[in-house]
């Protein structure tokens, strides 16, 4: 009775030992690559959910409403090609109408109810300023704010927040240095949005352009109840100042209004614009729709605008980045025009994927912040990033360009500079890497 019993046990014991061994192998095998876990709010074994506030309607919507869909198109491309360590990115963006009281509610929903892993590319200076303290108090990564306010670079008070695009002080300096050397002695006037966006911009301009040349400073309010009337009045003041060069730090809709007011007043100064308001396709479309014209009317009015850009020009069709984004655009976003806003959305999404890959297989929120604090390699931007534990600024330089036949034509090499009054504007010595062959960082 005992004997067969023992014999019966032996295979069982061997089986058990074998399966233990197998399990052990399995464990060691997967720990080297790290099993996918729900490592943080918004991160499951299969998805990473991130959120954003975007102006899908309202005064800032023309053009900017394409940015989040473009980011999403890039995420879909990444998801279709293996995702981020196998996880798919779910991008939830809410409409705040560029109204900071709505932003406040939107971001609370994203963080408190939807439990997003991070806020990504929240758009707008006044809107995001209203929520940045809250996002930081909840210790949620606040990556790549879609605004060049220098205020995002505050590693001690806003440790979770990072800028991305060149900040407006740097941009103002690069524009200012060009104006100071190319329009010596001419009368210069500023047209700008009356918040930190415009004020940072003219601060940068002021570092480079002699104050004696500046004859007028005309600010507009983005929440103006009658934008066309307000811009008309300001344009008349610009004309009265006899400025030969008008430098604008304005969103596209106000740029278009400025251009139309100039036209109706018969005033034609050289127009220099921040990158924010100079995307040719957006601007031409707005001019046509505001003036109820079609065809070449809008594109004719923007010919010759001088501006800057920190991303490759859509006109350089041989650029590997433009080729990549053109491919993704035609596959995932064929309904929207391939313009500067779409380029922006995809580029910032690329940078986010860079940061997520660096944050590791099972990232916590802190891992993501640490990843960016450790610096990101230059990718889609023409100049390197400033990211470090103490510096939360993004792209550090841009090239000057002119609008010709609907695309930006570079006027020179990439210029880099810092945020200080005395820091020089100098030619960038780094070379931009080409886009990876598979399109994923």
């Amino acid at each position: 009775m005992n004997r067969p019993h023992r014999l019966g046990l032996a295979p069982l014991a061997m089986l058990a030992a074998g399966s233990l061994l197998l399990a052990a192998c399995g464990n060691s095998g997967s720990s080297s690559s790290g099993a996918l876990q729900a490592s943080a709010p918004g991160v499951t074994a299969k998805t990473i959910t991130i959120g954003s506030h975007q102006p899908l309607t309202g005064i800032a919507a023309p053009g900017y409403d394409e940015i989040a869909p473009a980011s999403n198109a890039y995420f879909q491309y990444v998801n279709a090609h293996g995702g981020v360590y196998g996880r798919k990115i779910v991008y939830k963006y809410l409409n705040d109408q560029y109204n900071s009281s709505i932003t406040t509610t939107d971001v609370r929903q994203l963080i408190l109810q939807d439990h997003v892993f991070a806020i990504f590319d929240g758009l707008g200076t006044p809107t995001h300023l209203a929520v940045a303290p809250f996002i930081n108090s909840e210790k949620v990564p606040d990556l790549f704010v879609a605004s060049g306010c220098a205020c995002w670079n505050a590693a001690s008070s806003l440790p979770e927040t990072f800028g991305w695009q060149i900040n407006y002080i740097r941009e103002g300096k690069i524009l200012g240095a060009y104006i100071a050397s190319h329009f010596k002695g001419e009368k210069i006037a500023y047209f700008y949005q009356n918040d930190e966006f415009g004020q940072d911009g003219i601060k940068g301009l002021g570092y480079e352009i002699p104050a004696s040349q500046v004859v007028a400073k005309e600010p507009y309010n983005v929440a103006a109840s009658n934008p066309a009337g307000e811009v008309g009045t300001l344009t008349a003041a610009l004309k009265a100042s006899k400025a030969q060069v008008v430098v604008a730090f304005a969103v596209p809709a106000f740029m278009a209004l400025l251009r139309l007011s100039e036209l109706s007043l018969g005033y034609s100064p050289t127009l220099v614009s921040s990158d924010v308001g100079s995307d040719p396709i957006t601007l031409a479309g707005l001019l046509n729709s505001f003036a109820k014209k079609s065809g070449a009317f809008g594109s004719g009015l923007i010919q010759g605008i001088i501006t800057d850009s920190y991303l490759p020009s859509l006109g350089s069709s041989n650029d590997s980045w433009i080729k990549l984004f053109t491919k993704i655009h035609s596959q995932y976003l064929p309904k929207l025009p391939l313009d500067g806003n779409v380029l922006y959305g995809m580029s910032v999404a690329y940078t986010f994927v860079q940061a997520m890959l660096k944050a590791g297989r099972n990232p916590t929120r802190q891992d993501l912040v640490n990843a960016v604090n450790g610096g990101l390699p230059q990718g889609v931007s023409v100049a390197p990033y400033a990211y470090s534990a103490t510096d939360h600024d993004g792209i550090t330089g841009a090239y000057m360009a002119e609008v010709k036949n609907g695309v930006l034509v570079p006027l020179g090499p990439t210029q880099i500079t810092d945020n200080t009054a005395t820091g020089p504007v100098s030619t960038d010595s780094s070379t931009q890497p080409p886009a990876p062959a598979n399109g994923i960082p």
Binding site: S100, T105, L112, P126, F134, N221, V222, S225
Partner: protein, 364 residues
């Protein structure tokens, strides 16, 4: 007695809300605070429009006054929270008095125009004195929950408490004012101004008083909203807000405080619900316009189905339309009565119908 009854209802509602708010997640608590604050504004406006018979398309401006008063007091004077809210109500009330003096001379479309102008013009103050009001950026400030609740107490729950308590206090006060002589005088004024004047009422004073009460409510609402969002910007008090308040009054039921509660709930909760509905059903492109369209649709449906607002509809569904003695009870009402009789085992239906006529104002 009415005071006691209203206070009793408010205390019960308060206890329910207290229990409810502790069960909610922090985003729902935030929304609860938003709803409560909005109800205060809508209740104030329903008094002005539905009871005193004056119109205002500019109540967002009084909320602006209350909100900025709160932000400035919290930032610079650091007063106690209750005092801050009270002060905001007083400041907005003074603004209402000034507007009311002008309003007392204007009627109908002229009054609508004057108040409209206020809503358009007042936010410009924030741009004019950027140093004080912060321009487009507005003002950011913080409030903290009191120490005795512990450090881990959710700020959103505290905000929900403050807003709900204030809303209940305001509703009780308004309900009592409505049943007082002032309330009766307002209704007399609304129904026939000439008759009211002939009866010896000081028409101008009554109109100004209504504006003050209503503006003070809007000031409290602005103050509560500011404390919930922890910032004030001109963009929060647009003309669109003023018009939304007006629609909320009509939607809920003109002149009824319970209607104001409905209006506030719909105004705050319907747009995000529709926006989430759109984005979760793969209509990302529609999520921007659906809330606006949806709000309009709700307005149309309610107006078609219940011309007297949601509260009118509720009244029609829950009770007889008219006293049984003079008009036939509607089929639904009769059915309801039958149910009540069976459940209660005694005839409460008759009692309900007889008190109904009296109960129309106040919380009804």
């Amino acid at each position: 007695m009415t005071l006691l009854r209203h206070a009793g209802i408010a205390i019960i509602a308060g206890v329910v809300l207290l229990v409810l708010s502790s069960k909610l997640d922090s985003y729902r608590q935030y929304q609860l605070a938003e709803v409560a604050a909005t109800i205060v504004a809508v209740a104030g406006l329903t008094i002005l429009i539905g009871v005193s018979g004056q119109i205002s398309i500019g109540h967002g401006a009084f909320m602006f006054v209350g909100g900025y008063a709160t932000a400035l007091i919290v930032m610079h004077l650091k007063w106690n929270l209750a005092l801050v809210i009270l002060a905001s109500a007083v400041v907005a009330g003074v603004a209402g008095a000034i507007m009311g003096v002008a309003a007392a001379r204007l009627r109908g479309p002229y009054l609508a125009g004057a108040t409209l102008m206020l809503a358009v013009a007042l936010p410009a103050v924030a741009y004019q004195w950027q140093g004080v009001f912060g321009g487009d950026q507005g003002l950011d400030f913080t409030v903290t929950s009191p120490g005795f609740l512990g450090v881990n107490f959710q700020l959103t729950e505290w905000q929900a408490w403050v807003c709900c308590i204030c809303a209940l206090i305001v509703l009780v006060l308004l309900a009592n004012v409505l049943r007082s002589r002032v309330g009766r005088n307002w209704r007399a004024l609304r129904d026939n101004e000439t008759a009211a004047a002939l009866a010896g009422l000081n028409v101008g004073l009554l109109r100004v008083r209504a504006f003050i009460v209503s503006a003070a409510c809007a000031g409290v609402a602005g103050s509560l909203l500011a404390m919930t969002m922890l910032n004030v910007t001109p963009g929060a008090f647009t003309l669109a807000l003023s018009i939304q308040l007006l629609t909320a009054v009509v939607l809920g039921g003109l002149g009824s405080l319970a209607g104001a509660v409905w209006g506030g709930i719909i105004l705050v909760l319907v747009p995000p619900f529709l926006s989430n509905f759109a984005s979760s059903h793969g209509l990302a492109s529609a999520s921007a316009s659906l809330p606006i369209a949806g709000y309009g649709l709700v307005l149309i449906i309610v107006m078609l189905a219940f011309p007297s607002g949601v509260q009118g509809g509720v009244r029609r569904l829950l009770g007889p339309v008219a006293p049984a003695a003079t008009a036939p009870v509607s089929a639904l009402g009769r059915h309801w009565h039958g149910l009540r009789k069976r459940v209660g085992g005694q005839d409460v239906g008759a009692e309900l119908t007889t008190t109904k006529g009296v109960d129309k104002e106040g919380f009804g």
